[in-house]
Symmetry: C2
Subunit: 308 residues, 2 copies
């Protein structure tokens, strides 16, 4: 996968020492599309545009002889029991303390919000949060959203109606626009919600704010489709499943359409790739709780191509 | 480094599915000693004992042609300005919220305490927090302790008297005893403090508790000595530096001496190693904010030797 990486305008990602001066970095964007035939990377606007993909989903099961799977394990919301964390204006310390570590629903339960402090080991050589950190936090917020919505969740996050049909959600595209990367100790507030995306997909969006200033520092959107876990084939969203998720939909867009790079990009091959990073194989520590390599690791591998 | 790994009793580390049943895993221990001539790994008691080391500290600067450095970047406490986070019994939500994400001093400022929630991506294939996660949280707590003590901190954490002499702290040994690994969503409370270790070293200890039950689930201790940043030679602690750190010392031991494996272990070589994992090279993403590979990554590489 990583050998498909190609881009020319990536130095802005690796500027060092911006934390103390609170400089703003250039916008960086990362996309992945695991089932798209348009597998390539091309610099666009000011920043970095990345796409990694596997044309044939059946190939995702094996990398270097290890059983892995490049899909993002997210879970669809579910209309089951509610488990909202209620925060009152004044609460005893210990309760507030524990409650503030988890997320909570806001805006009539249509938005899930979680606050994080950036840890030292989540920053890279330039002393700011890495793209992997940003995407891990997006994933964490999405998973907590789903879990708090009442989905106990097998790893693949199927709703009840999906489980009956052996269906799982897979991500086909993630688009992240970073305005500013956080530093060690910064507190960020992440909002996430879901909406319909055409007839047979779901969209999950995120907004990351600086907790203190409430400035929006990152916007992200992703597209999810349904796959049969056994046949590995994409399928339409069954009507029963649609009825399960519709109550959670919120008609709001994190990245305005005119700022959303959805244009087709040239196909990337070993021949036209400007940068190739070989020798990358999944480590045991790359495996997640579902014993597969998720999309965040792919982004990390792709970024490895740009670092020498 | 990782090729030195050797152990026979490691399967307990990779038991899956213990999170829902709240089973207790076997004790696992990890040690590192970067300057010790006793570079080896030997199973002891029920669990895993690991030692990784580089006999010659000068060699730590380069791995595969990249400038790296295997030392743990920790910082010594400093008697400068105080920046304690004060928590009252009842506080408005937003303040409590932000405050609860950072650590605070307890026990007359001798112990620094921070609470963490385990994130999904910090767990491994067995669905529990990985050893790297445990050690990252120990590191994070130690760094926040130092920073909250008033050390602005160059990356190497020298006190003022140390900076004047180009001295930095380096870790020579970390011993971690895990009683139980946490699951996604578990809240842990970490206490850390420092004490003298003989005449020319400092000891940093940690206790990890389950936040809800207050049960101790992990104990850890580490030994720190002083090195000249330019000559890479170890040195005695200058009296002026000792005077800076003594006010922070707390005479308390996380791992009782009779439970602390300090016995000498046979030297490990390529010949007597039972397990060797080759092909591990630092990735760009292995670099920390000091542009070097810290001890936690070494532990990760060592553990890679046991996973096939």
């Amino acid at each position: 996968m990583a050998s498909m990486a190609k881009a020319s305008n990536v130095t802005s990602l690796f500027l060092g020492g911006v934390c103390k001066e609170e400089k703003t970095k250039n916008v960086a964007m990362a996309k992945l599309g695991f089932y798209s035939p348009r597998n390539l990377i091309k610099p666009k606007r000011k920043g970095l545009l990345l796409i990694a993909s596997a044309k044939n989903p059946h190939n995702l099961d094996m990398i270097n002889g290890k059983k892995v799977n490049g899909i993002f394990v997210g879970e669809a919301p579910y209309t089951g029991k509610k488990s909202t964390v209620l925060i009152k204006e004044h609460v005893p310390y210990k309760q507030a303390h524990a409650a503030s570590l988890v997320g909570r629903f806001v805006e009539d339960r249509h938005v899930y919000r979680q606050t994080f402090i950036i840890r030292s080991y989540e920053t890279g050589p330039d002393k700011t949060a890495t793209m992997e950190t940003v995407m891990n936090l997006l994933q964490e917020t999405a998973l907590n959203h789903v879990r708090s919505s009442g989905l106990a969740g097998n790893g693949f996050g199927a709703t009840r109606e999906m489980s009956l049909r052996k269906l799982i959600w897979v991500v086909t595209r993630i688009h992240v626009q970073v305005e500013r990367y956080s530093c060690w100790g910064d507190v960020v507030e992440i909002d996430t919600w879901v909406d319909a995306a055409g007839k047979n997909a779901m969209r999950r969006d995120w907004i990351i704010r600086d907790y203190n200033t409430q400035e929006i520092i990152t916007r992200a959107t992703s597209t999810w489709v349904i796959m049969n876990h056994e046949t590995r084939r994409l399928t339409k969203i069954p009507e029963q499943v649609r009825q399960e998720v519709i109550p959670f939909y919120l008609n709001r867009i994190a990245i305005a359409e005119e700022k959303n790079d959805i244009g087709k990009i040239d196909k990337l091959t070993d021949e036209n790739a400007e940068r190739i990073r070989s020798g990358l194989a999944p480590r045991w520590s790359d495996m997640d709780a579902n014993q597969h390599v998720n999309n965040v690791k792919y982004i990390g591998w792709i970024l490895e191509a740009f670092t020498n």
